[in-house]
């Protein structure tokens, strides 16, 4: 990699290492339990929250069992999907539509509504012309906020279950409201203003027509872009105003915004890990988990940066892909010049280990190795560092699995944070690990057998298989990025991808809550010399191994037929 790429990576790592623990401390102070606990900013936030609880007729002091918590999450998801579906269907007849977007078709509305409610933000529609400003603001942005808050709320409940001593794991409405009022909204307002100062647009004007220098005309888009861009990233959502997302100069105008965008995505999931360490009173445990996440993050990001800078070996030698002071070089098909090959790969593949899947370049045109790095980050289960909340409960489940395997290997009773892992938990954990691969592999292979599945493929051969497999894996993990050559706005893909997103979001949530609920009543045992240390480097390395082996074994055949094959044959 050239110097610029390393400098950018170092900058991102340094800022994350400084900000994530600080933000984690703020989150821990905000979400610490106990009546009468003071939290930072109470003077401003507490009156807002009291009014919300009053409107909801919810007693903020009451706590829920895991079943009630799960039902609140599911009912809220169902109702908000229905409302968003209605907005998308009717947007053509609703106000605030200067671009004259017509109502979306039933299957596209179904797909898009689920996509944003689940935090996936798979976009089968064209942003500029197929969504009204009203739909963007009152529909999609609202969904981006709520999806993020639901993720964080569920993570808090799971932590209480795994580490706490009560059978009750918190109040969904309190967790949800506090996440919005004290984390997502204030950070979004600040972040949006920073983005606008760099050139991200924020207006309600619609298209303006310019007369170009050469005598033609050009439509210049507008829209409330910055306000959506920031929660798209901060909420690890990924859905943009414009078709090409973070590659659009109006969304991501400078090198600064490119890395600021990446930081908006990854700092909060890491901070949530540090919050976890403080909440359970074991900061070393959080450090071990953060180290695992950072190792995986660096793995897929560096590999992709290196591959894209190296360039596309299939292009003729008379095209200069060598980086120099006057030419960024590298694989520039589908990349913006201001970011260059390594900056593009850093931002795009850097967000692939979160559920954001925010891109500043076209993944379909990545080299086989660079594309595979993005793919693998998704397949490992979105834990490097994962979505807001989802990263935490995702890696906690894998940590429980690792404790069990390690316990079998050395002949000790598996326990995590003092609680024994028994058959009840293991059944749920295995269901959690298998739920997504089963859906992904079933739908992806069915698509390859059907004309309605293969006709929308753009690229021939193994690359085409990757387009389809990537689509299902991406939406199942609520990532939402795409090998966008696949023309996915067809009834088959709209509906099956929609179903995949629903399962990929809510099966893990319900299972994680169930695991937490089953541990919630259990007594914590004191640490003895026989207890397996889960916060040391040995366990961290073991956890990486389990993550890679579990993900690898499940998906290896698919990867061979896709990117690995393309690399070897090409």
């Amino acid at each position: 990699m050239n110097l610029t790429g390393w400098e950018q990576l170092l900058f991102v790592c340094a800022v994350t290492a400084i900000l994530a623990p600080l933000l984690g401390r703020y989150l821990a102070a905000t979400f610490r339990d106990g009546a009468g606990t003071k939290a930072p900013g109470d003077r401003i936030f507490a009156p807002v929250e009291r009014n919300v609880y009053r409107a909801l007729r919810v007693d903020p002091e009451s706590s829920m069992t895991w079943q009630v918590y799960a039902i609140a999450v599911l009912v809220f998801g169902l109702l908000s999907t229905a409302v968003l579906y209605a907005i998308l269907r009717l947007q053509g007849a609703l106000p605030l539509n200067p671009t004259h977007a017509p109502g979306m078709s039933p299957t596209l509305s179904f797909n898009t509504a689920i996509s944003f409610i689940t935090g996936t933000n798979w976009q089968a529609y064209e942003g500029e012309t197929q969504a009204s400003y009203l739909a963007d603001m009152a529909g999609l942005v609202v969904a981006q906020f709520t999806a993020a808050a639901v993720g964080l709320a569920v993570a808090l409940a799971v932590v209480r279950g795994i580490a706490g001593s009560s059978r009750r794991i918190g109040n969904f409405w309190v967790d949800f409201t506090r996440s919005l009022v004290r984390v997502f909204v204030p950070l979004s307002v600040i972040g949006a203003i920073v983005l606008v100062s760099q050139g991200v647009v924020q207006n309600l004007t619609g298209f303006r027509t310019a007369s170009t220098l050469a005598g033609g005309t050009q439509q210049i888009p507008g829209g409330p872009v910055a306000s959506m861009e920031v929660i798209k990233l901060l909420g690890t959502n990924g859905g943009s105003m414009y078709g090409v997302g973070g590659a659009h100069p109006f969304e991501n105008p400078t090198g600064f915004t490119n890395l600021f965008d990446l930081l908006l995505v990854i700092v909060l999931p890491f901070a949530i890990i540090f919050m976890f360490g403080r909440l359970i009173g074991r900061p070393r445990q959080a450090l071990a988990i953060a180290a695992v996440m950072a190792a995986l993050f660096l793995g897929h990001t560096v590999i992709a940066m290196q591959a894209e800078l190296h360039g596309n070996s299939q292009l003729p030698a008379s095209v200069s892909q060598v980086a120099s002071a006057v030419n960024p070089g590298g694989n520039m098909e589908g990349k913006e010049l201001r970011f260059g090959p390594s900056g593009s790969a850093l931002m795009t593949v850097g967000t692939m280990g979160t559920t954001a899947g925010a891109t500043d370049s076209a993944l379909d045109s990545y080299t086989p190795v660079g594309g595979a790095a993005a793919f693998v980050a998704i397949l490992l289960g979105e834990i490097s560092p994962g979505g807001d909340g989802g990263g935490l409960y995702g890696i906690l489940v894998l940590a429980l699995l690792s404790v069990f395997i390690a316990g079998l290997m050395v002949g000790r009773t598996p326990e995590f944070l003092g609680k024994k892992i028994r058959a009840t938990q293991m059944k749920l954990i295995v269901a959690y690990v298998l739920a997504i691969p089963v859906v992904v592999l079933a739908f992806a292979s069915t698509s390859l057998l059907l004309g309605s599945g293969t006709n929308p493929i753009l690229n021939p051969g193994m690359h085409g298989l990757t387009e389809v497999a990537y689509a299902y894996a991406s939406v199942a993990q609520n990532n939402g990025s795409a090998f966008a050559g696949l023309a996915a706005n067809t009834p088959w893909y709209d509906v099956t991808l929609g179903i995949t997103m629903l399962i990929g979001r809510f099966a893990p949530i319900v299972l994680a809550l169930a695991i937490a609920g089953s541990l919630a009543g259990a007594r914590a045992h004191a640490r003895t010399r026989a207890t397996l240390d889960t916060s040391g480097p040995t366990f961290a390395a073991f956890l990486v191994g389990v993550i890679v082996i579990v993900g690898g074994l499940i998906y290896f055949p698919m990867l061979i037929l896709g990117p690995i094959g393309e690399r070897i044959v090409g």
């Binding site: 400098e7 919300v52 009630v68 609140a72 009912v75 809220f76 109702l79 908000s80 409302v83 500029e128 603001m137 009152a138 609202v142 979004s188 203003i193 647009v201 924020q202 207006n203 027509t209 170009t212 220098l213 050469a214 033609g216 050009q218 439509q219 210049i220 507008g222 409330p224 910055a226 306000s227 959506m228 590659a247 659009h248 100069p249 090198g255 600064f256 490119n258 292009l315 003729p316 008379s318 095209v319 200069s320 002071a325 006057v326 030419n327 960024p328 098909e333 589908g334 990349k335 913006e336 010049l337 500043d360 379909d364 045109s365 086989p368 753009l458 690229n459 090998f483 966008a484 090409g570």
Partner: protein, 201 residues
């Protein structure tokens, strides 16, 4: 949980949806719009470029410099190939999405390289900068590399009957160095450069 519990959760859901739609769906974006229009008017409206009161484009968006038949105009620096609609269509941002091993991409790049050499009077074996023959991710990339601009400078100078040195100096003058030294790549903004050529800036 009894049915009353379920009903209570559903009522809370409806109330919450109404609250977030009002406050986050309207309050939040309109507040941000207000602040942006007050303090960052130029940026918030798309960094628009007006010449004598007429809107000529955006400093952040590339545009076509072609004649009515779609052929590149020699007197202007040419931007990167674009897959936004028919080229630099601001209403239809997009990439080619061609895979690295796709024969269509290889042929496109080879043909573009030959056309670039012919258009700029470069030797048959000249090495072409990669950004000149590949389409960007947005189809609206406003920039080209310094190497690409320098390769085009002589042809532009000839078409405008200007000394090459003067056009090259203009390229140097309109080269944006990397932000903070490392946050971005060095770039040349094609619209700004062509505006300078036309003596409009």
């Amino acid at each position: 949980m009894g049915r009353s519990g379920l009903v209570r959760q559903a009522c809370a859901c409806i109330a919450m949806l109404a609250i977030v739609t009002a406050l986050l769906g309207f309050g939040y974006p309109l507040t941000v719009t207000g602040i942006s229009q007050l303090f960052f008017r130029q940026q918030a409206n798309g960094s628009l470029v007006y010449v004598n009161g007429e809107l000529r484009g955006s400093a952040l968006l590339g545009q076509n410099f072609t004649d009515a038949a779609g052929a590149p105009r020699a007197r202007y620096f040419q931007p990167r190939p674009s897959d936004a609609g028919a080229g630099y269509d601001g209403a239809d941002s997009g990439a080619s999405n061609l895979g690295p091993s796709n024969p269509v991409l290889i042929k496109l790049v080879t043909d573009r390289a030959a056309a670039y050499r012919a258009f700029n009077d470069l030797p048959k074996n000249a090495v072409v900068p990669v950004d000149a023959v590949t389409a960007s991710a947005s189809g609206l990339d406003p920039d080209i590399s310094v190497a690409n601009a320098l390769d085009q400078a002589r042809r532009v100078a000839r078409a405008r009957h200007l000394p090459a040195a003067r056009v090259i100096a203009l390229v140097r003058q309109h080269t944006t160095q990397a932000q903070w030294g490392f946050l971005s790549e060095p770039t040349v903004n094609v619209l700004e450069l062509n505006l300078a050529l036309d003596g409009l800036r």
